[in-house]
Amino acid sequence: MGAPPGPGAAPGGKDRPRQRRRNLLHRLDLRGAPYGFVAPFFIVFGAFSFYPLIYTSWISLHKVELATMDLMEWRGFGNYTALWADDRFWNALANTITIGVISTVPQLLMALGIAHLLNYSLRGSTFFRVAALTPYATSVGAAALVFTMLFERDFGMINWFLGTFGVESIDWEGDKWPAQIAISTIVIWRWTGYNALLYLAAMQAIPRDRYEAAAIDGASRWQQFLSVTVPGIRATIVFTIVLSTIGATQLFGEPLIFGQGPNGISGGADNQYQTLGLLMYEEGWKNYQMGRASTIAWAMFMLLVLAFVLQRLIKSATTRSRTSQGIRSGKR
């Protein structure tokens, strides 16, 4: 160590270790730097997403109360089996699905229509685009509060309006389907414009000449929409369906504020609009049973995973059959 190499040393021998180190650094720079650059995200992800996920699963195996988080009683999979046998869970799941369907389907269809209209060259199109996005920028709380007042049973504007046509006042909060429709209205109002803009962005990427060709072939605007626009934005449609499914599964703020107070948490006196998100909140922050709340959180997570696996399976099945048909009919 430290002794200078003798004059008889082989030429280049002095430089070889340094050279090797430089190579190593170079390789590290090349291969390692990208990891270094993505590391901050994954560290934050690990600390604030992955760790809570694992900790939640640990909690879900215990009986724990919020006030005494340090006292954990091992239950194994007891919370999961209890959840499976709990009709509140199935009720909440059914509500989540029905509210999800009656809010997502009209929402996406309307968004598609609005995007199609916005895609024509309009005067003041920027205004309409910004206007479409305004509901999305409104907070859930404010929107839900306003809608709650509109849908009020005795003195709400909607019942007053229906009353002018002789319709008897509807108990929007108390009855099952009116409540679910009212909640869906809030969701639709908030998200239609957002989805419309996503569709619009995708539509603008469709080459104009396709429309021209279709027009020359004598296709009406409706036919153009069906055979040029919709196939052209298929990827975006799938994307919005995925986003809306996640959103619908986690639906929480709208029904909570719609019911207000303890009634909102249980989704009405009869749990008629309790979603999975609300059930989780009820168990965790009203009954203070953190173990059971964590179990529901995991059940929701697994449901989403299941939904995506199913969607993948359906997609691959349909594309396979479509391509085989295409080959047979000689189209592709």
Binding site: V44, E65, L66, A67, T68, M69, D86, R88, S139, G141, A142, L145, V146, T148, M149, E152, R153, D154, F155, D171, E173, G174, Q260, G261, P262, N263, I265, S266, A269, D270, W285, K286, N287, Y288
Partner: protein, 437 residues
């Protein structure tokens, strides 16, 4: 107005949570500072308070008065509108050990849970001087078996019946408060019978006799010293005859169309008050402030207060101080001042929250108080008499608040969904078992 407030609050929340996240990422370099918000700096003391509903401390200017009388003290009070939301946040903060205030309000329905699970987190008032003026049962509710007093009482909730004179008159019932009280003296069944008479005599078929069956249920069970739990902390809601009796009568009132099918403090109730859709409501003293605010000046003088069939205590609150507050002594001093007889009397006079202090009861401004909004009703006398009928022992249970909510939902099933009382009872029973089990 309500919306803009919500908006700005959510904006503040975003800003605060962003800052909090940044703070976390920065590695919590603050370290030693207090986690309750208050503190001492350059001889100046800041005390933070977390309150809910209309406790009357800020509304009546008492906090400002204290600041004036004690230069160098700044009080920051944060008031949540809804107690359920407030308590959930408090639970989370206690579990996490952050976000707490130096002084925290505690609703009576939560007292037992605090005593059972959080006693070590609250400062002890046992040695604070001048706390002998409280009703003994009030002080006991927040005292641990070891004798630690976790907070001092603000108000209690003796009950009366608030009624609309104009509606009673059109239904052919007496309007004078003595005669009205005589209609149902001593028996809640007679209150419901009066409702039947009201319904039969009323010229307006849309008018309901009472707002909800829940109010009736609450007032009946809170006239007994035990409701959902017995003294040993065992659940007895399904065996307690008081609960069963209250359920049956409330179910009868709910299913025979005597109620406006509203739920107290829920959407629809306030417009019901403003638009005069019901003639009576069982009102604990603290509810007067709410009624006069929501029914508005247009209905001033139409309301009156009559003695309830039986005395009962519904609600009330305490003020506790966090043990690790850096200004613990100052905060305890402030709490003792705020709950002293004179202040309790002021609050009663201003907004109607009834004192939990025996001494305050004796003060002329309490005993002689009249409410201008409620046709000059002698509320001091009426609620004072009701307070004397409150059972001397009040047994609290850990999940009282939750169970009460579930019962009111069960009654709502009968009232507006036409469910059979026995079916609704089964549902309620099952829900309670799941919630507390």
């Amino acid at each position: 107005m309500r919306i803009s407030r919500t908006l700005s609050r959510s904006r503040v929340t975003v800003a605060v949570s962003t800052l909090a996240t940044l703070g976390l990422l920065a590695g919590c370099s603050e370290g030693g500072t207090s986690s309750t918000g208050g503190g001492k700096k350059d001889g100046k003391v800041t005390i933070t308070m977390g309150l809910f509903g209309v406790m009357g401390l800020k509304e009546t200017g008492l906090l400002e008065q204290y600041e004036r009388e004690n230069p160098g003290v700044t009080i920051k009070a944060e008031i949540a509108g809804d107690e359920q939301t407030y308590y959930t946040a408090l639970q989370t903060h206690l579990a996490g050990g952050s976000g707490l205030k130096d002084i925290q309000g505690i609703e009576v329905g939560r007292a037992k849970e605090i005593v059972d699970t959080q006693a070590d987190k609250f400062a002890d008032f046992a040695k604070t001087e001048g706390t002998g003026h409280f009703q003994p049962w009030k002080l006991n509710q927040l005292t641990t078996p070891q004798g630690r007093v976790l907070g001092l009482g603000t108000d209690i909730g003796p009950m009366a019946i608030c009624y609309r004179k104009d509606m009673f008159q059109q239904a052919g019932l007496p309007t004078d408060r003595e005669k009205v009280a005589a209609l149902w003296a001593g028996d809640w069944n007679k209150y419901v019978e009066t409702g039947q008479k009201f319904k039969a005599g009323s010229k307006d078929s849309k008018l309901a006799f009472m707002d909800s069956s829940t109010g009736l249920f609450n007032s009946m069970i809170y006239g007994s010293s035990e409701q959902f739990y017995d003294k040993d902390g065992e659940l007895i809601y399904d065996k307690n005859p008081v609960v069963k009796e209250a359920w049956d009568l409330a179910a009868e009132a709910g299913s025979s169309g005597l109620t406006a099918k509203l739920r107290q403090f829920q959407p629809g109730w306030d417009p019901g008050l403003a638009n005069s859709t019901f003639a009576t409501t069982v009102c604990p003293a603290w509810m007067l402030a709410h009624i006069s605010e929501k029914a508005g000046p247009a209905n001033k003088g139409k309301w009156d207060v009559a003695k309830a069939p039986k005395g009962a205590n519904w609600g009330g609150a305490f003020l506790g101080v966090l043990d690790k507050s850096p200004v613990k002594a100052e905060a305890q001093k402030l709490v003792a001042w705020l709950t002293a007889p004179a202040r309790q009397a002021t609050i009663f006079k201003e907004i109607g929250n009834f004192p939990s202090s025996k001494e305050a009861l004796a003060q002329p401004e309490v005993s002689g108080a009249k409410s201008p909004y409620f046709s000059e009703a002698p509320i001091g006398e009426i609620f004072g008499a009701a307070a004397n009928e409150i059972p001397a022992e009040q047994v609290l249970g850990r999940k009282d608040g939750t169970i009460k909510d579930i019962f009111s939902q069960g009654l709502h099933l009968i009232e507006s969904k036409g469910r059979k009382p026995s079916e609704a009872w089964d549902t309620t029973d099952e829900r309670i078992r799941k919630a507390v089990g």
